[in-house]
Point group: C2
Chain length 219, copies 2
DNA sequence: ATTGACAAGATTGTATACAATTATAAAATA
DNA sequence: TATTTTATAATTGTATACAATCTTGTCAAT
């Protein structure tokens, strides 16, 4: 029997384009405020504007772009206040997922998480850091079985991750601290110390906000 | 100067159709599992399939329908477990909004909320209850200024509200209790008793889940 | 010099038409 | 009879073409 819930292999053109644009935005190749002209993008991807429009529609739903009727699409541009809002939401939601995930974690889950942490250590391409960082977080939330929550938090993560990648040199220290916390977190999960794990996680999620505040970037 | 941030008056056809379909789903006119054929809907709304497809795309993003490539759209159908998951998320997010809203509440905010509560008392059309219920909740969260959080929670509310409207007769008692809690909540907000207000709100959000569990409806 | 009106160009929104995929039901085989 | 095959119809995905809307630059009026 086929129990695969994931989207079918034959993805539609719109989804493929959405995926590529999403990566471009997340990696900062498309900057906030940048205009997205349907005609040019359609030619760039060598498709008509119809599937492209659907792709833009998806990205709007994820909050990555904004579509203004008759005036086109613009890459979203978050204020520091909005970034703080998203982190406040993540602090509320992610401990909830972790709390419910810990009782169901298996040896395989821990191994998967460890592998991702090693990949983060060895990765020198900063554009991939966000992807791997989310992969780790998701790996420790997934045993909760809360698919709706995970989808929501993934969207939140995607909306803020690009602001952490703007200064590859400056965040060397932040990165090391983040990895240290990841490992502590995993240890607490192994010991089933749910409360401490959640507190640490909440703390872990304050780091980026402080990091951004210090940079004084008016975003 | 125009400081209006809301979507412009001239809505696109796709948005109008999405709005109508959304109401139909929220009110239970389109039941879970129901197939949505593009051709028939396009004829019903007297438009081509292009704007209709965009409308469906929006609804999918909100979680109200699911689009399977080459196989069409189906109205989403939540399990009791998924409803519980959504309420767990709301319990995490809404007190956060309330906590930050209370310090900024003005006399006008309280008056608006009161008016909505009276409307709920006088409303005998159950289809509108969900709408008004959300209007109340939003009115007490809005002073927080957390637009992203509000948008997220509105989406969560929309996904579960139809399950509370299935048995108009049975929930007479639930409705009265809900209104009582709304008024207590508003009182606590007036007194700036933030902690108690948040606790009450969290409690208020457990009611529907218990109500649904008792009904034994396998949804 | 500044403001407002207006036309040309650019850009988005939608309808029609066609291609690709999937669902169905009848026919063929075991 | 049960199961596979195959052909037909139904449905979705996409390209092209056209209509509606917005932007931009020019020019007249105050």
């Amino acid at each position: 029997m086929d129990l695969n819930f994931d989207p079918p292999a034959s993805k539609t053109t719109a989804e493929q384009i959405a995926a590529q644009l999403r990566i471009a935005i997340l990696n900062g190749k498309l900057l906030g405020g940048e205009q997205l002209r349907q005609d040019k993008l359609a030619k760039a991807f060598q498709v008509s504007r119809i599937p492209l429009r659907e792709a833009l529609s998806h990205l709007q739903a994820e909050g990555l772009i904004e579509i203004i009727p008759n005036r086109g699409a613009v890459v979203t541009h978050l204020s520091l206040q909005e970034v703080e809002e998203i982190y406040a939401m993540r602090q509320a939601l992610e401990p909830l997922a972790l709390e419910r995930a810990i009782p169901h974690m298996t040896a395989e889950d821990f191994r998967d998480a460890e592998i991702i942490l090693e990949q983060i250590d060895n990765e020198d391409n900063f554009a991939r850091w966000g992807e791997l960082n989310w992969a780790f977080h998701e790996s420790i939330y997934r045993p909760s079985g809360m698919r709706i929550l995970l989808k929501t938090v993934e969207g939140l993560h995607n909306n803020v991750v690009r602001y952490l990648q703007v200064t590859p040199l400056g965040n060397q220290g932040y990165l090391a601290k983040s990895q240290e916390q990841h490992r502590q977190l995993l240890d607490l999960c192994r010991r089933k110390e749910i409360h401490d794990a959640c507190v640490l996680l909440e703390n872990h999620l304050t780091g980026p906000v402080e990091f951004l505040r210090k940079q004084q970037t008016d975003l």
